[in-house]
Amino acid sequence: MVLGRNIIFIIILIGCFASCNPDSHYQNIPITNFTGIEKWLNKQTDSVYVINFWATWCSPCVKEFPFFEQLASENINKKVKVLMINLDFPDQYDKRLIPFLKAQKSRLDVIMLDDPNQNSWISKVDSSWSGALPATLIYSKEKRTFFEKELTYNELNIAFKEHLINSNN
């Protein structure tokens, strides 16, 4: 009986670690090749998808990072998916990426993309993309907008709103 109570306590404790610990969000940043992110680039739903390609060493990316946070939190009740695709070098995962996200207190979904054969996938994101960072893809049903530049919050929000109307969201 005592053992049983202890087990219940431990289960509650573990459950709390997974959900109550604010750091747990940062322990689950996946690393994947392009196949792992391709599904996020061509969804056919009534949501708006905002996909940003960034790295911690890219100063304009760092500058615009909070704008995506803001966009996501301001539209929390709408059908929107904001996804930050990180292109730091994989050996920087613990040294740069996780500390950066913690410092930003970021709640955004982040995936690290590790696929060195970049010529095979850059054009699949957008045919016009040279590969320069930062880059942002916003899409909804039958409409795609691609930016190969640093965005202001205003630019991001205007483009996002167009898609929001387009998707009857």
Binding site: L87, P116, Q118, N119, W129, G131, A132
Partner: protein, 200 residues
């Protein structure tokens, strides 16, 4: 009058955006004159004895540029004697990216003993003409009679992370094709790089 001037200025501005599309494969290249890390001015016309130039927009700060530094040095050593020397250009505005100042370019060239010119695109007039978008960004230039034409645009190889894991050396394959008088199989490639830093 002021209004007319501003409309005219706007027209000039939009025209310059249209022009800034950059070179495509087969386009003739206009010469330029930029300051090298040794303080001397360098132009394409200085390479009168070479068959062409491997022009690479690169810089100090960008991790991708750093990952390719040694490979660029080796490419220069391999191809200079065959008629295709490397010329590197830093296109970034140091007010936006202080690590890419002229003084720090001089320091980096010294540290790495760059055997090729490392030029500063002061005023950022050259990179838009080429349509360079990032560092590193390669333009393989080849002489055809009096003209210099673009034969290849893109990246160096297919693995930025690890030179020993490279399967396809896109740039070297392109130079080898020119040397052999053959068609370049892959004339354009893409890779992730650092967007060129300009003032907003």
């Amino acid at each position: 009058m002021k209004k007319i001037i501003s409309v005219f200025a706007l027209m000039m501005f939009t025209t310059s955006i249209l022009i800034a599309q950059g070179y495509k494969i087969g386009d003739k290249v206009a010469d330029f004159k930029l300051k090298n890390v040794d303080g001397k001015m360098v132009s394409l016309s200085d390479f009168s004895k070479s068959k062409g130039v491997i022009l690479i927009f690169t810089c100090n700060h960008c991790p991708y540029a750093k990952a390719y530094e040694d490979r660029i040095i080796n490419i220069h050593k391999k191809y200079e004697g065959l008629g295709y020397p490397v010329v590197a250009i830093n296109p970034n505005n140091p007010e936006v990216q202080p690590e890419d100042s002229y003084d720090l370019m001089v320091a980096r060239a010294k540290e790495k003993s760059y055997p090729f010119p490392y030029l500063f695109d002061e005023g950022q007039k050259v990179f838009p003409v080429f349509g360079a978008a990032k560092t590193p960004h390669v333009f393989l230039l080849n002489k055809k009679g009096k003209d210099i034409v673009v034969e290849y645009i893109g990246t160096i190889d297919d693995n930025y992370k690890d030179a020993s894991m490279v399967k396809e050396k896109y740039l070297e394959n392109a130079v080898d094709a020119l040397l052999a008088g053959k068609m370049i199989a892959l004339k354009e490639t893409k890779a992730v790089g650092c967007g060129i830093k300009v003032k907003r």
